[in-house]
């Protein structure tokens, strides 16, 4: 097995789970405590990436630039990372100011078939000599051949790695191994995997990804994240330790931060509920768990029916308004 880099998306993906209400003090405490634990980068900011704080996907308690400034001060050994989706953030209003604050690494994400929307952003970051990775979200919605085409585009723009996101937690192991192998065999840059735990497979699928040649694992402490949560990093590292795989990570530190700090940010334990399972089954973005729950209550219909309906409409990121439309239609049919 190769060396694996661990990307820590606890504050970023976890932001979804608490409707983006993470305080300045929590950001500071988390970053100070996790610094130097051996993780490759700590990624901060709104759940949909910097610049996404909005009516559409929810306002952050602390704006992204303040968040970055707090994290920058707290992180002395571990790289400070951010995430961005073209269409939410701009270079002028978001990326440039973020770089000025001293961000080390940027993940630029697009829906799995839309890699060319990242061109301006990856090129800008590459020319600024920043470590930039391309992220392909909702990978289960396309074929491995198409994923490779899209990943090759990102590679040509200057991405130093490609992270495949199982945004809906819709993966079974064979999907992961086939996809990751195909990319590893055909790309010249590292491949990573970001799991969601809808089907209880996040750690397992991440292990499959490593076995298939992935060298970046993106996860969160406590599995804290949108919907059913993510690949629980301390569990992942424990498994690897038991397999005698050297991770270079201070496992006790991860456990302590998870137990002592992340649990305080969380408003409820990370669990797989019916909604989470429906997301994994229908392939609907895990970010939509809370909005769907709310719409189900508001319109008095079964949340599972909303999942099936928006699954049919192939909802993608940033389309919260479609949930209400679907709920209204379902409630009319009742």
């Amino acid at each position: 097995m190769n060396d694996v880099k661990f990307f820590d998306s606890t504050l970023r993906d976890g932001s979804h789970a608490v409707s983006h209400k993470i305080s300045a003090e929590q950001i500071r405490e988390y970053c100070e405590s996790i610094d130097g634990a051996g993780l490759y980068t700590v990624i901060v900011g709104h759940g949909n990436g910097i610049g996404a704080s909005s009516h559409q996907v929810g306002f952050s308690e602390v704006n992204d630039l303040d968040t970055i400034a707090i994290a920058r001060k707290a992180l002395k050994k571990t790289r400070l990372g951010i995430f961005m989706i073209p269409g939410f953030a701009t270079i002028a209003d978001d990326l440039e100011p973020a770089l000025k604050l001293g961000v080390d690494l940027v993940c630029v994400a697009a829906h799995c078939t839309e890699a060319d929307t990242t061109q301006q952003y990856i090129k800008y970051l590459a020319s600024a000599n920043k470590e930039v990775h391309g992220v392909l979200m909702m990978y289960h919605m396309t074929t491995k051949e198409r994923l490779l085409e899209e990943a090759l585009k990102m590679q040509s723009y200057g991405a130093r790695g490609i992270i495949i996101m199982d945004s809906a937690g819709a993966s079974i192991p064979s999907m992961v191994s086939e996809t990751i192998k195909h990319l590893v065999d055909n790309l010249s840059i590292p491949v990573g995997f970001h799991a969601h735990n809808n089907l209880g497979m996040a750690v397992g699928n991440s292990l499959v990804a490593i076995d298939s040649g992935a060298t970046i694992i993106d996860g969160t402490l406590r599995g804290f994240g949108a919907g059913a949560g993510n690949c629980q990093l301390e569990a992942m590292v424990t498994v690897l330790q038991k397999m005698n795989f050297a991770t270079g990570i201070d496992l006790y530190k991860l456990m302590d931060v998870s137990e002592g700090i992340v649990t305080k940010i969380m408003t409820k334990p990370q669990e797989i509920d019916t909604i989470g399972l429906m997301g994994g089954l229908t392939g609907v973005f895990s970010v939509y768990a809370l909005p769907i729950k709310r719409a189900a209550e508001k319109y008095g219909i079964d949340a599972r029916d909303i999942y099936v309906e928006v699954g049919k409409r192939k909802i993608v990121g940033g389309q919260e308004d479609m949930i209400n439309e679907a709920a209204i239609e379902l409630s009319k049919k009742k």
Binding site: H55, G87, A92, K314, V316, D321
Partner: protein, 295 residues
């Protein structure tokens, strides 16, 4: 006497092709040149079948034979328009820029067509700007204490060609600038989503406004009026949701059903900007042709 004004279209992709089909139907415009970079492109082939003069020399074809047109539509990219704008100015052409370059006078026909007609270079902002800015202006006119307006555009992936995808940054900044300038709102935010769904979904835009004490009845009345005016040149424009107060914000959703000239109905984002372009060009042409009657 000449009863049509000649136009040239630079850019043979989705927007240029849609524009060409609309001009073919115009009573006062005639396409004198459809020019791009590749003679083998689908756009050029289609234009040839329609009997329209074509070229693969892009703007150089206009420089070679400036008599081919009086109006030039630029449907390339913001970067290209930076190069094209000074050349066209020197040639004395009336320019309608469909890229988000923001070089010319920003124009949303329902709000400021008169100003645009006296400019030499008219910039049509963006599809999201054309769809949402008039409603943002209604919000600010009826509720000057509005603190924040956000617009979320969702367009079908299939309708977004390579130019659009290479200009996301310009799209976002230009739409935001237009939102601020035309409406006067203090704080604005623009979000753009490419929807890869199959079959493609209709272009739709949601406007969220933070309004302290919204008068929904008044807002609805004024918004309906504005939508009616926009339908005067964009037939498929419709308010499909709201205005409604939810979670301390006012939400309005508009859809644009494309007229299906080039791409099918889902591509309302093409329609709204090409309809705006044709509206500006026709008004300009009518003025010129009217003057010539008496010359």
């Amino acid at each position: 006497m000449q009863n049509k004004l000649k136009v040239a279209i630079i850019g043979t992709g989705n927007i240029g092709s849609d524009l060409l089909l609309k001009i073919q139907k115009s009573a006062v415009l005639e396409c004198g040149l459809f020019t791009g970079r590749n003679l083998e492109s689908e756009g050029i082939k289609r234009a040839q079948e329609l009997g329209v003069p074509t070229s693969a020399d892009s703007i150089a074809a206009i420089e070679r034979d400036p008599s081919c047109c009086e109006i030039v539509f630029d449907a390339t990219s913001a970067q290209n328009h930076l190069v094209h704008a000074p050349i066209l100015k020197q040639l004395g052409k009336f320019v309608i820029d469909l890229t988000p370059s923001r070089i010319g006078t920003m124009c949303i026909p329902v709000l400021n067509i008169d100003k645009a007609l006296s400019a030499q270079n008219v910039n049509l902002v963006t599809c999201g700007g054309q769809a949402c800015v008039p409603l943002a202006k209604v919000i600010m006119d009826t509720h000057p204490d509005t603190t924040y307006i956000e617009i979320v555009g969702s367009i079908a992936s299939k309708s977004a060609g390579s130019g659009t995808r290479a200009n996301i940054e310009e799209y976002m900044l230009t739409t935001k600038r237009a939102l601020e300038q035309f409406s006067g709102v203090q704080k604005a935010k623009v979000i753009l989503v490419f929807n890869p769904a199959e079959p493609p979904v209709l272009m739709h835009n949601t406007i969220y406004a933070s309004i302290p004490n919204p008068n929904i009845e008044l807002l609805k009345e004024k918004i309906d009026k504005m939508a009616e005016l926009i339908r005067g040149y964009v037939p498929g424009y419709q308010v499909t949701y709201g205005p409604i107060v939810e979670k301390g914000r006012v939400a309005i959703t508009v859809q644009v059903v494309g007229s299906g000239d080039f791409l099918p109905a889902y591509a309302g984002n093409l329609d709204i900007i090409t309809c705006a372009a044709v509206r500006v060009a026709e008004d300009y042409a009518k003025t010129i042709l009217e003057k010539r009657k008496y010359e």
